[in-house]
Symmetry: D3
């Protein structure tokens, strides 16, 4: 079976694929960011690449190398930039990385680019990068770009299964049940369930302060409990997400 | 009674205020963006300035001139950039505007800056602007910045009053009941309730496409019904928001 | 009578105007800058917006929201950046703001954009912003941009009336008779004639020093006497400027 | 045995390592670039990460996620930007990625950062990124950065073994014996020795032309023969490079 | 006698001068811009360097290499960008060139930098470059920068001698009597008095249009008559300017 | 005989040349950088301009004003940024200077631009500037750009003559025999052979450290001996380089 990883193809094989099949190409975007004591720093990149690979396999797509460094972590969604190990980029860098990618894939003759985001803070800089990349290409360009956060493809019904006591919402889902379960599915050896911190629910006010109030954030970096995570839930989520992304790709592009 | 508008003060009066009272200064950030046939293009800037003025009056603060041009409108939150009249800025411009403001207010000796956002798409570029501004100032700086979207200060209880049939969520609240009611409270002459479009609920998929799918967006630009808007609701919301922002300012800053 | 303020129009009304009448749109550009003890910090933005509104009324034009933050104040024309309250932007920010505006108004299908400047220091960054905006649009674009400083529309004859003892020249006219008189005409409640400082005429050498020599600048920030300012002079100036700008617009554009 | 991959560590473990051992952290930098019909597009990133991992294992270091997109391919060293599949970034993007990384690792308290380059075209943009990152940190910073191209650690003696008929020099060593042998050592399944193109030696003049002269470059993208490549040579080279880099790290840093 | 040209000194001699004498260093800034049929494209750079050399000789200063490319030519002061041969830079480039120079001369330990401008359009971008360079250096820096346009050192009395029928003002003095006379003094072989165009006085309105109205500008590019230029006038002007700049340097710096 | 210096031509003459002969235009790029105690700071700019003038004379070309400030000096090729007198620019500035030049010469209708580099560190930023300039021009542009380092036109045979004991390679040829001989040919009065420092051969490791290890570099700044330099060698080298560049220009462009 052919690889989905673009960087493992020779340019000759890649060109043949682009010419004959017009595969969608996925660009996973992650982060290097604290995810508590039980998940690795690379969680967002690992999950976005894994989801992209699963979806690519379903639609005959390819996965380009992950953008592994994401936008600066914010207290309410990722804990904040004060954690050791969190390694982030300025807006201009992330915007430029995406802008360049859009311009280059258009040069290849690609028709369908899927920017698959796994780090909440990245979203708006991806939007700007895509907009500027398409501006560079000009109105004659034929590349279409789909942008998505993979968790938006989880259905309410599945979330109800995963959270029998009620889904607390995506707001504090950092290093919590969804990410931990999916990591247990995809990369079980990188998860340390024995190191789950005490449950502490931060009580964020409806505003933000800069410089960041580090005392608002639990010292562990975990914003919501990961208790109850397991590989079966991860598998359920991963399968649903990949299948629904595949469906979106089949129907969402014009070409 | 003293004005809250910074641009109406002489520098001598401003300096006296900064020296003696250390007032919080509000920087409202809006947009020039379609808001359906019944609301004006300047809605986001008008509301953020009005809310800022009300909150400033409660805490002895000042309101700096509004940043009137916001980040590019997106289909799911503002209808998209294809509407005539929507006039937006690139990320770099908005980031620069905020960065410069942070650096300048710090030079004034200000201790408390409140960046009050009224346009959903602005949020992450404000964050970057604040971060870079504080980086410019350096670790010795004494300016603290509060950043907020004003609608996050509406309580569930008030939203329940405003939406007796259930609050549909902030997701599609563009040119809908909240904004329309607040405009009827603050700027009734600018609202044309007789021009409310037919209710059409767009059915957005969990991803976005670029170039933008203009056919996903109702031709009116309204994403959710504004029916039921009235000035009383606007007054209720405006009062609550101003009071709760004032409370946040009293307790949220270190200085 | 229809409003001239673009931000008070709905997008539907704006589009109808653009389509049917091709009105000129004015973009006022000001500053938040010390103007002595007798004039407010927002003088430049207030005056450029007021002049734009008067001229727009004469030609059926519209006025877009003011760019309220200008380029850094220089000692010889605005007193310098050391004054508390002066709140300025870097060149890149002002250039970007204008570039984005040019690109957006071109997208609307506008044919005539008038960038009306009220802060001397802005001029060259407006030029660069216009140039880059037109570069973005490309040679096929049909938008023409007029750029002007409003005081250049005062005739010698009127200046002779306003200054019976001889017009001292625009060089030191910061917070002096012209601006003060026009503020007395447009915003009398914001002028404090009782606080006019002692007349001190700075004696600038034919070069500039950086870091700025704050001792070259009168502590009041006033570079030339405002004595003799009155609303009648302001009215005379305002009327002449608006009428002559209107005439320029009628004859100056190709379309 | 502990992992060398930083993205597989939790932030807690990473912080513990930084605090107790001050490990060197490697940042591999590659490219997504044509490497002939026999090597994959990701060759430069795969090799720089593999070499980094080997060297890290020898010195107790860690390897951060690879920067997988490199500077634009040039005809004489990488074939040129006209190849389908080559996916490159602008100078500003690569400079920004490195600048941000330097600033972030310094924030972690890291003392030794090793930027290990595997794509010839990247070199000068890495230098600028490091310089600007160190400028951001300021003269009080304690982070030292080592920058290297891994092939510079091959000794003449080993090159003489690998090229019994004489080492032709690094100039045209793109997708040739060194890279192919090292890929056969590290990633044999990604090498297609059966697809080696006919040997064609391009005859480049001592200047470059832009737009690029695509006819100067062999259609295969291979600039020099890969014939004679084998895994044993790759192993020899890989071992030498890793050991000599390890030695450099032990002696080259001040701390 | 020692050279004034910095680029002719070895670094050892330059360092010795900086250490022992703290000479002022001049940075001339010119343009490559049409100057009518009788003056060369490099006039602004040639004159700013010549004036700098004369002034440097008087104060024991040095002259750094000229920035030979200036900001984009404008119709009212330089004819406009539509002339063949005019070769200009974007604002960001000129700002960057000056910013970098300020930062580098500060690193040398220089105390007195004189940025001597010979192209009207450059002025505000020099200001921004100096401001950003000093921001880079930080408040502890000891470099002072003087910025000047050389023509501002011409006295009214000398201008009265040069223009016996009255000085028409600097406004249209592009390729006219002042520049032509000074070129006849400094570089007579580059002046073609036999090619002076017919006198045509453009009649510019008090606004500017973009794209540029090329029909406003005389086809020769000359905005005002150069008739009456001669080397004696040039010598008079050159001597006065150099002496008065020298005096300014002696008294204008703090150190 | 007509001048080769573009800045000495009037725009009328320049335009006539461009229209009738389509001359190649050379853009020399140098640096202001320490070159030991015996060569001046401006060596790289002086040599690149001199070579350009010689080559231009052979092909009927013109020489535009030199870009006199180069990219930051590196220890292994120029000694490093710690030397007093070395005055360099950031990457963005050099890239912008070249990008703007490419765009402007294309506007002139030029077909052949030769960017002639005399400072090793500049190379990759010239490449990026050319690439971005051509991107600005778009695919319809007809300007071709040749980029070269002049020393690459020295033949092995000539190098064998110049170095009877064997050419040590270009690696350490900074302020050594090649540059010193060529300066003795072109600018003998600027060379101080009596000040040649003691021969010290630095022993650089195969990596670089940042902040720079100033102790790796000889205090004189000379990386390799200049002993044996003479004007005859310089003349030989200069003649060969100019003739071979001229030949390249005759055959290398499409138009």
């Amino acid at each position: 079976m052919a690889t989905v990883w673009m960087n493992e193809l020779s340019w000759v094989d890649y060109q043949a694929r682009i010419t004959s099949e017009q595969p969608p190409v996925f660009l996973p975007v992650g982060a290097l960011e604290q995810h508590g004591p039980h998940l690795p720093l690379g969680t967002d990149g690992l999950l976005s690449a894994a989801v992209a690979a699963d979806a690519a396999a379903l639609v005959g797509g390819l996965v380009a190398p992950t953008l592994s460094y994401g936008y600066k972590s914010q207290p309410k969604c990722g804990g904040g930039q004060h954690f050791c190990g969190t390694t982030s980029v300025d807006a201009a860098t992330l915007i430029g990385s995406v802008r360049d990618a859009v311009r280059e894939f258009a040069r290849h003759g690609l028709k369908r680019l899927v920017i698959l985001n796994g780090h909440y803070e990245n979203q708006w800089f991806l939007i700007e990068g895509i907009d500027l990349g398409l501006r560079d290409i000009g109105p004659q360009g034929t590349l279409e770009v789909m942008r998505l956060e993979y968790w938006d493809f989880m259905t309410e019904s599945t979330l109800a299964d995963v959270f029998p006591e009620g889904f607390p919402g995506f707001a504090l889902e950092h290093a919590a049940v969804l990410e931990t379960s999916m990591m247990l599915h995809y990369h079980p050896s990188l998860v340390r369930m024995d190191l789950l911190p005490e449950d502490v629910t931060p009580n964020f006010p409806p505003y933000e302060m800069y410089p960041i109030r580090t005392d608002w954030v639990p010292p562990s970096g975990v914003l919501s409990s990961a208790r109850g995570s397991d590989a079966a839930k991860g598998s359920l989520l991963a399968r649903e997400v990949a299948q629904r992304i595949a469906a979106a790709i089949r129907s969402g592009f014009k070409s």
